[in-house]
């Protein structure tokens, strides 16, 4: 099954018989404190192909691409571009060599316009900015690759899909021949992903090459010509042609075993309504409408999953329910109004919140594990004794949680910034679950975690549901929603556009609704459905 890479022309020492690889890497090693991210990695990208780099979180894919992009320097190994050995000291060198990377987190300046962002870092115009001329050039370039974008718009006003287009344009404007994309569809709805793939195809038709990093098997099989699979810093399959490969093959290469996420889930028997949202509207930080008159009920012992593409109001929904954002309308928890009350009130009513941002909202990085674990309990006995804090109780609590939830940390005094992502999330979940909440709001609970951690988080959520907690699950991972939710609500532009029980939820239908389509439209093409179904099958 393992393909062999074409040897570089240099080895043949004579007239090239095959065209040089667009990019080739050999023996790349990169180490960070405590982690060997790349362990003697080889990689080859052919001209005019779409090549996927597949692996779980932590496998080393981003590190490798960051080396290609000039952001990191390898500790060992060699790089060639178009047969020429290169060594990049900074992203600038990579750009000069024709490589352009679109990161998962966009590197745009929000307050500046599309054109200003594209002009950033270029050599021309050298001194005087000629806005009009550049705007026209940008518009023409976008046209050529079939992308719609307004060159004069300030970036903060653009949707995520549009921002991604700006990132791509940035690279194309610089004449990038090799485009590297890091998890490009993570922030796109299925139909937007289709547009992206079309754009990529038109680029490869011109002879440019594309590498994209992904952890979604279906997408890789549908779009890429070849795939390289990485696991724990090593390459397990190099340049495997996707024709003829199956998801099972890829899964095995990715995790070393067939992974079947089959959660033992007792049928739900929802109890009373715990959370009731009625006619709620609010604006986001930019002052634009984020929620438009939404209504929702969540019952005890039920998981309601909110499926939405990033930026359609789901973050704001979590915030209004947890008292972190004002709104109009009514929100009842256990029958009592909590809209526009303080976060403290909401916490007192038995609402737990696992926030989207675990490092600057969910935890306090320089405080100890103990201090973080008592964050929701410090107002009550036994941790509190009147106005004072009982240090011994706090530590006992922390020790107990550390053991029960298997949080890996040297001591309970360890500063939380030193914890790994998975352990931090375990700590946050431990803290929230221990408050024995009637309602849990979980936002992107498994983002950035490896498969083992994801499984344990899902197990915890199912257990809570069995114990009668009402759970509102907000996630960008459709598979997660499909695996956990009893009922699915689709959000688009601040409204609920579809609601169905889990048995009727289906990727194509959800994808359509998530991008503003209606149920009378044609269902999505099989290719797109396959592309976005990241489900692992035996």
């Amino acid at each position: 099954m393992i393909d062999s890479l074409d040897p570089p022309n240099l080895d043949q020492g004579g007239a090239p018989t095959t065209p040089p690889l667009a990019v080739e890497a050999r023996g790349i090693v990169k180490e960070f404190p405590g982690v060997l991210a790349n362990d003697r990695v080889d990689f080859g990208l052919r001209r005019g192909e779409v090549h996927a780099l597949l692996g779980e979180n932590g496998a080393g894919k981003s590190t490798l691409m960051n080396i290609l992009d000039g952001l990191y320097r390898p500790d060992a190994g060699e790089l060639w571009v178009e047969g020429v050995p290169v060594s990049f000291g900074s992203p600038r060198d990579a750009i000069a060599a024709g490589l352009g990377m679109v990161h998962q987190h966009f590197t745009l300046v929000p307050s500046q316009t599309v054109t200003e962002n594209i002009l950033l870092g270029l050599d021309r115009p050298r001194f005087l900015l000629r806005e009009r001329r550049s705007e026209a050039e940008v518009a023409a370039l976008a046209e050529r690759f079939g992308m719609r974008v307004d060159p004069r718009a300030p970036v903060w006003q653009l949707s995520v899909g549009e921002q991604q287009r700006v990132e791509i344009l940035k690279m194309l404007y610089r004449g990038a021949r090799i485009l590297i994309m890091d998890e490009p569809t993570a922030v796109l709805a299925p139909q937007e992903a289709d547009d992206l793939f079309a754009t990529l195809r038109s680029m490869t038709a011109e002879g440019r090459s594309v590498v994209f990093i992904s952890h979604k098997l279906g997408e890789v099989l549908a779009i890429a010509d070849r795939v390289t699979v990485m696991r724990r810093g090593k390459v397990t399959a190099a340049g495997l042609p996707t024709a003829g490969a199956t998801k099972a093959d890829l899964a095995r290469l990715m995790v070393g075993r067939s992974v079947l996420e089959s959660l033992d889930r007792p049928p739900s028997s929802p109890g009373e309504v715990v959370l009731s949202v009625r006619g709620v509207s609010t604006t986001n930080d930019r002052g634009l409408a984020a929620l438009r008159d939404v209504s929702l009920d969540v019952r005890a012992g039920e998981i309601v999953g909110i499926a939405a593409v990033a930026g359609n109001g789901q973050s704001e929904l979590a915030e209004v329910v947890t008292g972190l954002r004002p709104c109009t309308g009514e929100i009842l928890v256990g029958g009592e109004p909590v809209a526009n009350r303080s976060a403290a009130t909401v916490i007192r009513k038995g609402v737990a919140h696992v926030p989207e941002d675990r490092t600057s909202v969910g935890s306090s990085p320089n405080l100890s594990l103990t201090d973080n674990l008592i964050m929701k309990r410090y107002r009550n006995a036994p941790v509190a004794r009147g106005w004072l804090l009982d240090d011994a109780s706090a530590r006992a609590l922390a020790d107990g949680l550390r053991e029960r939830y298997r949080i890996v940390a040297p001591t309970v005094d360890t500063e939380v910034r030193l914890l790994s992502g998975g352990n931090l999330q375990r700590a946050i979940l431990a803290r929230e679950i221990e408050t024995k909440p009637g309602l849990l709001i979980a936002v992107q609970p498994t983002r950035g975690l490896d498969v083992g951690a994801i499984e344990s988080v899902h197990r915890l959520l199912i257990d809570m549901r069995t114990n009668g907690t009402a759970i509102l699950l907000i996630s960008e991972e459709l598979d997660e929603i499909l695996a956990l939710a009893d009922r699915v609500e689709v959000m688009y532009e601040g409204r609920f556009v579809g609601s169905f029980p889990a048995s009727e939820a289906e990727i194509g239908r959800m994808g359509l609704l998530m991008t503003g389509g209606t149920e009378t439209d044609d269902t999505a093409s099989p290719e797109a459905s396959a592309a976005t179904a990241g489900r692992l099958e035996p």
Partner: protein
């Protein structure tokens, strides 16, 4: 009370605030908060004055002032950018350092006796009605330099490529870095430049506007006022200039008030010797508080505030904390 004279004096002393404020604008737009302006101005003032005193050449003094200011800026820059120390504390340390050093170096300097920078009268413009007499007659060369600095600074920031990079570095250093822009190098350069201008501001006092050295009183809080002005000006050089001139006109106005026997027919309570004069002295500082409050509210309302990355050291690959 001659309003014309007061306005002319305002323009002159306003130039001091102008240089300091514009220097701070450059530093802050690059993302670095520099609270050491007061110390840098004092160092510039004493360096300029004492160099002029020893060499007899005010231009050398001016150069010395700018060099010292730049050196202090370099210190602040390296400590906050490369060593990632807290910008607020470093700035405060710089103020203490600059103040102390200035006291040490200024020991025994007399009040007068050094040469000063020449004044100029611009030929044609001085004949303009009203404006000519105030703005273009017999003002120091540094005042005219200030006039030129404002549009140049604006143009640089808004209309040139280096200005685009400056703004990007202060708003979104990760984006700038990804485009191959040297974030830390650029920030350091602008912080040093801010220091140079602060030193220049100090020299403007001792070599042009109020020649002589009077210890700590020389600068008397104007460095802090400049920082407040930057907030009020919402980081725009033009608004900063207007604010500087306006603000500087208040002091001579106050002094003028103290010379008048009656105000609106009532006995002037602010005559020197009457202790109520202290309230007049409070006015500039109260004004700064007012100005900063207004500026903060206005910025909050417009959702345009400080450069987004102001005060946060940039480390490639790190997000948030």
């Amino acid at each position: 009370m001659d309003l014309g004279l007061i306005a002319a004096a305002g323009i002159a002393t306003g130039t001091v605030l102008l240089f300091a404020a514009i220097g701070e604008i450059f530093a802050e737009r690059a993302g670095v908060l520099n609270l050491g302006v007061e110390g840098m101005m004092l160092m510039g003032a004493v360096a300029g004055f004492s160099t002029t005193l020893s060499t007899g050449n005010p231009w050398l003094g001016l150069l010395a002032a700018m060099v010292f200011g730049g050196l202090l800026g370099l210190l602040h820059g390296v400590v906050t950018i490369h060593l990632r120390a807290d910008q607020v504390v470093s700035g405060l340390a710089l103020t203490f350092l600059g103040t102390g050093l200035a006291r040490v170096l200024g020991e025994g300097l007399t009040n007068t006796g050094a040469a000063r920078l020449p004044n100029l009268t611009i030929p044609l413009l001085a004949d303009l009605p009203i404006v000519g007499r105030i703005v273009f007659s017999n003002q120091s060369v540094l005042v005219y330099a200030g006039f030129l600095l404002v549009p140049l600074a604006w143009f640089w920031i808004e209309r040139t490529r280096p200005g685009l990079h400056l703004r990007a570095v202060g708003e979104s250093p990760a984006a700038a870095d990804a485009q191959g822009i040297g974030v830390n190098a650029l920030r350091l350069a602008y912080v040093v430049f801010g220091g140079v201008l602060a030193g220049l501001a100090g020299a403007t006092i001792t070599l042009a506007v109020a020649p002589g050295w009077s210890g700590d009183q020389t600068v008397n809080g104007r460095g802090w006022i400049a920082i407040g002005l930057v907030i009020f000006a919402r980081w725009s050089p033009i608004r900063a200039a207007l604010g500087a001139y306006l603000f500087a006109a208040i002091t001579p106005f106050i002094l003028g008030l103290q010379g008048v026997q009656t105000i609106l027919g009532v006995q002037n309570p602010f005559l020197p010797g009457q202790s109520a004069g202290f309230f007049l002295e409070m006015l500039p500082y109260l004004f700064v508080i007012g100005v900063v409050t207004v500026g903060s509210r206005s910025a909050a309302r417009r959702r345009i505030g400080a450069p987004a990355a102001l005060g946060i050291p940039y480390v490639r690959g790190e997000r948030g904390h």
